[in-house]
Symmetry: C2
Subunit: 236 residues, 2 copies
């Protein structure tokens, strides 16, 4: 897998990071959350992940009325879409929108988050620029993600979604890269417009084909050669 | 429809914009394209839309091998996903990626684009900050878009996709907002992981329900009350 270097991790400004952490601790601006705890957020504030990982989730109440001949599965009461992770050193913000609502959750235990006002960024030279660079990078990643979700076959959406996730967050281990965070089939389904049941079935197929494997603690792995070889694999 | 003000349009720095345009004209850094012409782009350059509209499109070659019992429609040879518009005053950039490829096309006739190196942004005070603000805004929009695409029913994806598009790019006209750019059913399908045929069928249903209408020149309209009332509409 010929993954590019992770822009965001590389650009993390470690020298000012220590100063920011001290600044935040002095002002009680850093707080630690347990797994799946929701981060209380306010529009207009900036958040920085200090440790652990944040899971962004969106809910949309825009629904068409029920259509009898729609041959799709019945609607559950709430539908949350998994929108990605924010890893240590990365910023995030939660904007309010007239209908779509976005929330941040601690994805793992001991996830620690710093918050500040935007103008406080100017306390550290160049840090504002680095935060903006991180958002620019995130915007680029979301374009790649949207490309993968535009595919019609669920299995194609699933495979490209996993490839992008592991490219961005994956860590090397022997002959593969693994996603360091657990992700349920239901969460994967919520990202690619599918269901837990379908994801379980298609993950089985990808495993049979050797495109992914599941390691201890249910972590998803991709062999280093998988993404390189898949463009050559014939579709029909 | 209680649409928020368009951050990006409001923040367009008109005073420096005129200077940037003159700078670009002097250096032959502005070029006009016909409808559907591809913009030749290079990684590491920054592009600004001067007039018209850019359509961003992504292609992903990551495909799983054919699965016989997959009950979905057969795969076409290429699958391009519509990723959104870039309107006048907005920046865009095209990054290279090891597998996903993103292209920019002139969506309408007489689309004019300025290009520059990133360091040239510093020619105009505050302009770098405004470009970064625009990318930050685009990143927020893409999170909303991903939320809408996480929904399982195609009709829900379609309705929230159209709502977000019209919220961002729509222009008011009497009792409705309309999307000022034409968009084919095939392009819509490519954004929401569906087909032209399905989009045509579901657009018919949305029209019957009065949630959208189609005006002259095939432009998509939404009544100003549609998005306000849809959260209340019952799903099942």
């Amino acid at each position: 897998m010929n993954f590019s270097t992770q822009l965001s991790k590389a650009s993390r400004p470690l020298s000012s990071w220590q100063k920011i952490l001290e600044w935040a601790q002095l002002r009680y601006r850093v707080r630690t959350f347990s797994k799946d705890e929701q981060i209380p957020t306010r529009s207009g504030l900036l958040y920085l992940v200090e440790s652990g990982a944040i899971r962004l989730v969106g809910t949309s109440p825009i629904k068409a009325v029920n259509i009898n001949d729609e041959s799709e599965e019945p609607q559950e009461t709430t539908e949350e879409a998994f929108l990605g992770f924010v890893s240590p050193g990365e910023p995030f913000e939660i904007v309010t929108h007239f209908c779509v609502s976005i929330q941040a959750y601690a994805h793992v235990d001991r996830t620690s988050v710093i918050w500040m006002y935007w103008h406080e960024l100017d306390n550290w030279a160049n840090f504002r620029g680095e935060v903006f660079e991180a958002f620019r990078y995130q915007q680029q990643r979301k374009l790649l993600w949207l490309t993968s979700l535009g595919q019609r076959r669920t299995i194609d959406r699933l495979l490209s979604f996993l490839t992008l996730l592991i490219e961005e967050y994956g860590e090397p281990k022997e002959q593969s890269y693994y996603l360091p965070y657990p992700l349920t089939h239901s969460q994967i389904g919520s990202a690619i417009g599918s269901t837990r049941v379908t994801v379980t079935r298609l993950m089985g197929k990808l495993r049979q084909q050797g495109l992914i494997s599941i390691e201890e603690d249910n972590l998803i792995c991709m062999p280093k050669t998988a993404a390189d070889s898949s463009p050559e694999s014939e579709v029909e």
